[in-house]
Amino acid sequence: MTPLASLLSQPVGASHYMVVGAVLFVCGAVCMATKRNALGILMGIELVLNGANVNFVAFGSEVLRGRPQALSIDGQIIALFVIVLAAAEAAVALAIALSFYNAHNTIDVDRGDDLRG
């Protein structure tokens, strides 16, 4: 039996969800490190928070981990808090980016060096 067929015939576990969360987290971290557009950095932050959310939901899922081991509803509630905080963070960061754009006429974060000593 090929590995793909044996994977398809069995349920997935929290490990597989954590791999997806890890890929999204690393994508977001690399995005934050390499983008020069301030809005690109903001999208990287969204990806990081989303990867963390995948892990929270996986740990809380009774489908993935069985009834006794799962965090049950706590993981999902914390994921909801993360979503709300991400929305708040996006609003403030976008306001800062627009203010920066109005003051400097650019959105390139490498030009934001007014505080350099």
Binding site: M18, V30, L42, M43, G66, A91
Partner: protein, 202 residues
């Protein structure tokens, strides 16, 4: 029967592939409008993963708040700042190499850690089919109101640690209120920060 396709796994692989592929596409494209579009697709596929994990309310909130709210905000930001020199800003090759090295090292560490804990391994197929999916909206609502219906099961173990955990599980009413006030203050502050100032320098 035992060797037939287990359909939740098939849809997990589908949504996971879409989420990861568009997450990587967000990183490697340098066009900011394309980045926003790929991010929408990645977040929507993640909502599908939440549905598959039995978190139906969180998946719906992911679509409504993230895809419907946060991404609209981001797209407005892109539209307000999208002038010719800023739409595509390229990153230097040396930074790509450093970021790929650090990201690959972090990713391999995380994947190794994910498969090295026995408690995170998959259930057997019979166990997974025996788990009844319960709707979660009522339980989340009761938890946010401070009266959680899921408590630490005291009949199992019944140690002093379990009793202390059960006494501490009084729900999420205080964090819910804190996050509500926090959201109000953040939105007022964002509106204050983003208003247009006329610069009076001549």
């Amino acid at each position: 029967m035992e060797d037939g396709i287990y359909w939740p796994t098939f849809f997990f692989l589908l949504f996971a592939a879409v989420a990861c592929a568009f997450g990587i596409a967000v990183v490697i494209t340098s066009h900011v409008v394309h980045m926003a579009f790929y991010l929408v697709l990645s977040l929507a596929a993640t909502a599908g993963l939440f549905f598959l994990a039995g978190a139906d309310f969180v998946g719906a909130m992911q679509i409504m708040i993230y895809v419907g709210g946060t991404l609209v905000l981001l797209v407005f930001g892109v539209m307000l700042t999208a002038q010719a020199p800023f739409i595509t800003m390229r990153t230097r090759a040396g930074e790509w190499v450093m970021a790929a090295l650090a990201g690959g090292a972090l990713l391999s560490l995380l994947v190794w850690a994910a498969f090295s804990v026995d408690a995170w391994r998959p259930l057997s197929r019979a166990e997974a089919e025996a788990v009844a999916v319960r709707p979660t909206a009522t339980r989340i609502g009761m938890g946010l109101l401070g009266a959680p219906t899921d408590r630490v099961r005291l009949e199992r173990g019944d140690s002093a640690v379990d009793r202390r955990l059960a006494a501490g599980m009084s729900g999420y009413l205080l964090p819910f209120e804190i996050v509500a006030i926090h959201l109000l203050i953040v939105l007022v502050g964002a509106a204050y920060l983003a208003r247009t100032r006329r610069r009076r320098e001549a």
